[in-house]
Symmetry: C2
Subunit: 433 residues, 2 copies
């Protein structure tokens, strides 16, 4: 049986998972591929820590050159994470003529152009299924399964940590801070949770996914990002009262001219399939002109699921190696020389329905003044509910608007804030679906 | 720009959809593929009927040979449906060295071995994404996205007609017969609905899907099949009371030794994502050792969605034509010479929980005799509810069992039927998830 040599850089959680798949499922993979994926070398700066997988000592090295320049290795897996030295390692592997697989969404979202250009120049393949949606074969579905379509809408739950936090907040009625601490204890959230809870990780993934879907290069810097730290259990409860669930949604739309791409807490109808995605699970709901809506659901992170995606890419790239072909499918789904930069719609120009919660003084005339300002900005109200009564004190006033422009609602909320009839600036949650 | 010649046999609903995609999305497909898919010839015995798409008269022919033997055509799409003459056409195209794409699940489920052997011998590719789950890129996900995994469980809603009927029965409380007639009027069910409502169509699809998933050839004849015609709105309501939804589920499991494959009305927990799949939509929930559970959802039928899958296959095969390779991925995901026949577990040997509804006489001692028989067969009861009171008359008695063997429950129900305390044989619905 033919062998394909595999090298890994970075033997953390996912790296160890990859080694485990290659060992435990070697026969299944061989029956599919018709060849053996042989782990030749694993490089890491720490090769002493026990990773929970048995590896021959001779496979381990602290010298990256033993992977990227190893003539027995055809495919290099980069699992270092972050920008540097991951980028340098990846580019070294590419320039040495190795096909490469990575799970590094931050790197691809920010430096994708440079890395893909290098791979194209050298004629090597680049697999990155694990970078979005963890184990879910999502990029493959978009890039190949939907190749006949113009894709126009993406709604994604692309970050498991925040989905876990929102699920717990909803089901236990607890505050963001409290659930976050719990998630950190359980290992679902990092010690510094900023990337996850502020929506940056989801924005990285949306950058990659929307570029593949729309065939327009969406710059990471153009993705509007708002995290979940200001969402309260009360907002989640009020949303439920109106028939909505609150999710950190990655939203991207393409009207054929302009792309909008944004990550923010979003209310979606409770009977939408995405509303049923609980805990650390991820899902993407994608709508396309011929296919219509489809949904992909699964584990968006974790050692085993992510390793599944990495090894799926290894199999795909190995098939090309066996046939002596490469760049059969361009990494971003479209021919690189036909990939135009996206024209991105500024957040001010998007339109959707809005949920507004103001802590408003319970006294006559307040609602009239607030709704008056909304009306002046062309925002029509679908419903208003005052939660409780407490004469002269602040009580939650919940306003659901009809579709309105972001710029208008923001200006209106700014003016409402200056009225002096509300306690602090009103909270705003966008509504989709 | 390079051109790939495409021929179509059968210009019905889906065929016309394929022509429409190739016309409307030509530029999008070219930007992905880097080549033009040119429709060279369309053969049908009826080329007079208006199909709702404009085609140059010179493209149409009644002579299949003008497609399968046309030197300008590299890929032939078979959309005739049924066993014959579809099979003859497909084999002619293959023997003429054409790559082939088909949506024909009945043909593949029953004659897959012969067709795949012919394609292998001639070294041509075979695409059949549209045969299971309509437009959902499901086979691609299983065959390639999960290549690193041992897949062990499939729960599929693979027939849109029956899912529509069950959804309507639930939401409107109407009988199977009434909803079926309505579905026929709307074009969601055929004049002869047997293939759909008796689960045969779903069994065809499960045959294909489980073979790809498990890497064992599952014979269509071994798939246990039970339709939805005996499900009543009362059963659906009682199921809901217990926190379950009733779906026609295609279930396949593989324990590493034996495969079980069955299609039958199934109760699944109401909070399971599959329970939220309404109307004509399809979904598959697939569990694998590293990836864990994933779910794929979308339109399982219809002109546009099915055409999306067919053209997705055209793009995939065209990529191979452009590179001069074929059989890059074996059609069933495993190397053909490593594909063993499945050892199929007889239905008698499966185990699950059961819902039993007996119309039992409302008088003392009846429950004791019924539960006594269940006990004698080693079936333990999770709960029993008598619906209503009507002394001396028959009232519904709902029994939910713990996990039991199929042979035991069947034998017990047979004995209960002979007791003379129930009206007609008890109804049985299997429970999964």
């Amino acid at each position: 049986m033919r062998e394909i040599g595999v090298g890994i850089i970075g033997i953390g959680t996912v790296g160890a998972g990859v080694v485990q798949v290659l060992q435990e499922n070697a026969d299944e993979i061989e029956r599919r591929l018709g060849a053996h994926l042989r782990l030749v070398k694993v490089a890491d700066k720490d090769i002493e820590t026990d990773r929970g997988v048995r590896m021959d000592r001779s496979v381990l090295t602290t010298d990256v050159a033993e992977v990227v320049e190893n003539p027995e290795i055809q495919i290099v897996v980069e699992l270092v994470g972050g920008y540097e030295p991951a980028k340098t390692f990846l580019l070294r592997a590419i320039r040495a003529g190795k096909h490469v697989v990575t799970a590094n969404k931050a790197l691809l979202a920010v430096h994708g152009d440079e890395i893909i250009a290098a791979a194209r120049e050298r004629g090597v393949d680049l697999g990155f299924e694990a970078s979005v949606g963890g184990g879910i074969p999502l990029l493959r579905a978009v890039r190949e399964g939907m190749a006949a379509n113009r894709i126009h809408t993406i709604f994604g739950i692309l970050n498991g940590t925040t989905n876990y936090i929102l699920t717990e907040m909803k089901e236990k009625g607890e505050s963001f801070e409290r659930v976050l601490r719990e998630a950190q204890k359980l290992g679902y959230a990092e010690a510094d949770p900023t990337f996850d809870v502020e929506g940056i990780d989801a924005a990285h993934k949306l950058t990659i996914l929307s570029t593949l879907a729309f065939g327009r290069k969406v710059p990471f810097s153009s993705v509007f990002t708002e995290g979940i730290s200001r969402v309260t259990p009360q907002d989640i409860q009020y949303a439920a009262d109106f028939g909505y669930a609150v999710k950190l949604l990655a939203v991207a739309k393409f009207d054929g001219k302009r792309v909008e791409a944004r990550v923010h807490p979003t209310m979606i109808p409770s009977n939408h399939l995405l509303a049923g995605v609980r805990g650390v699970y991820n899902a993407a709901y994608i709508d396309a002109d011929f296919l219509g809506p489809t949904l992909y659901y699964g584990q968006g992170a974790g050692r085993r699921a992510t390793a599944s995606a990495v090894v799926g890419d290894l199999v795909e790239l190995a098939r090309n190696v066996l046939l002596g072909v490469s760049w059969r499918v361009p990494p971003r789904g479209f021919q690189e020389d036909m990939l135009e930069p996206a024209v991105v719609k500024p957040i001010d120009e998007i339109s959707c329905q809005y949920y507004v919660r103001a802590m408003a003084l319970d006294r006559p005339g307040v609602l009239s003044r607030i709704s008056g300002i909304l009306g002046e900005h062309g925002i029509s109200i679908e419903s208003v509910v005052q939660k409780g009564r407490d004469a002269g004190q602040a009580v939650p006033l919940i306003i659901m608007t009809h579709e309105a422009r972001e710029a208008d609602i923001r200006q209106a909320l700014g003016e409402i804030d200056t009225l002096g009839v509300t306690l602090g600036p009103p909270a705003l949650i966008r509504i989709e679906g």
